[in-house]
Amino acid sequence: MVIDLLTKRYPGMRAWLMQRLTAFAMAAYSIMLLVRIIILQPAVYEEWLSFFQPIWFRIASWLFWICLSVHAWLGVRDVFKDYVPDYDIRVVLLKLLATLLWAYIAWASWLFLVR
């Protein structure tokens, strides 16, 4: 049902709901991360390395990054819409932001899924 709301039929609802869903997912990941740190207590490099070794945790971390990127895109897009009244400058800034976020996603993908 929620997926239906994220279609183009509901452009207003889509962004609003997406922001909340990604926030919820990030909050869930953060709690899980905290619990995992408390349980495993990684201290040195090798322990941190094994901390990020399980594939399920890598995928979760990658999904967290995707959520963060979407959340950041929606939030910063709103800020630009409010504070950058000049359309041309806003488009340039949004393109820069998109490039930056895609670069981060590529980096996170290499880090969590490939490496």
Binding site: L5, P11, G12, M13, W16, L17, K81, D82
Partner: protein, 246 residues
């Protein structure tokens, strides 16, 4: 009592300026509007709107010491001197404290602030249960003074597209009216991303409303209704597909 008042007459002044006034109040002067009328007696070039002088018409809405409010129900005893008076922010100034509220009312009109009911007109009135009537409390009392909308940063930055708290609260007022039959159309009307969803719960509207209303709560309820509508729409589509299949 000392006042510093925004003055701007586009026919004469190149740019706005603040004019200081120091006046002696009369015994009966209790509200800010009383003082403004006294100032106007001394300087009749000062322009402001006023009418009912008891917080019902919403004409004398202005920015008082940095916060929007109605001059007629603002007590002089509670104001810090010098009292700084400016027109409501975010709207074009016509002259001094008088702003052009065309855009405000265009947004208000855009939500169709009237009952839509296609049933035959009844002989008497359209009845409502006390429970249904109670749903309008806290909504119908809005006097459209514009204090909330013009203190909303989302409206300042997106005045052409964002309906604003006053308009949205009136949209909700008719959505929950048991006699209204246009809920779906009203919700669709607010789907365009900037009309409703530019509200970021800044809450200035709640802070300044002279009638102590809560436009922010109404906006949140519209979002809930939109969620419900989308769910309903999906169920209806499913039903249509099932009927076709049968």
């Amino acid at each position: 009592m000392k006042f510093s008042i925004y003055r701007y007459n586009p026919d004469v002044d190149k740019k706005p300026y603040m004019q200081d006034y120091d006046i002696a109040l009369g015994d009966g002067d209790q509200m800010l509007l009383d003082a403004l009328i006294r100032i106007k007696d001394l300087d009749d070039s000062l322009s402001l709107r006023k009418s009912c002088r008891e917080g019902v018409c919403g004409s004398d809405s202005m920015n008082i010491n940095g916060k929007n409010g109605l001059a007629c129900i603002t007590k002089l005893s509670e104001l810090q001197e010098p009292v700084v008076l400016r027109p409501m922010p975010g709207l074009p100034v016509i002259r001094d404290l008088v702003v052009d509220m065309t855009q405000f009312f265009e947004h208000y009109n855009s939500v169709k602030p009237y009952l839509v009911n296609n049933d035959p007109v009844p002989e008497n009135e359209r009845l409502q249960s006390p429970e249904d009537r109670a749903k309008l409390d806290g909504l119908y009392e809005c006097i459209l003074c514009g204090a909330c909308t013009t203190s909303c940063p989302s409206f300042w930055w997106n005045p052409e597209t964002f309906v604003g708290p006053a308009g949205l609260m009136q949209a909700y007022r008719f959505m929950v009216d048991s006699r209204d039959q246009a809920l779906d159309e009203r919700l669709e009307n607010l789907e365009e991303p900037d009309r409703l969803y530019r509200c970021h719960n800044i809450m200035n509207c709640v802070e300044v409303c002279p009638k102590k209303l809560n436009p922010n709560a109404a906006i949140a309820k519209i979002k809930d209704l939109k969620f419900e509508q989308a769910r309903e729409h999906k169920n209806n589509v499913k039903k249509r597909i099932e009927i076709k299949a049968v």
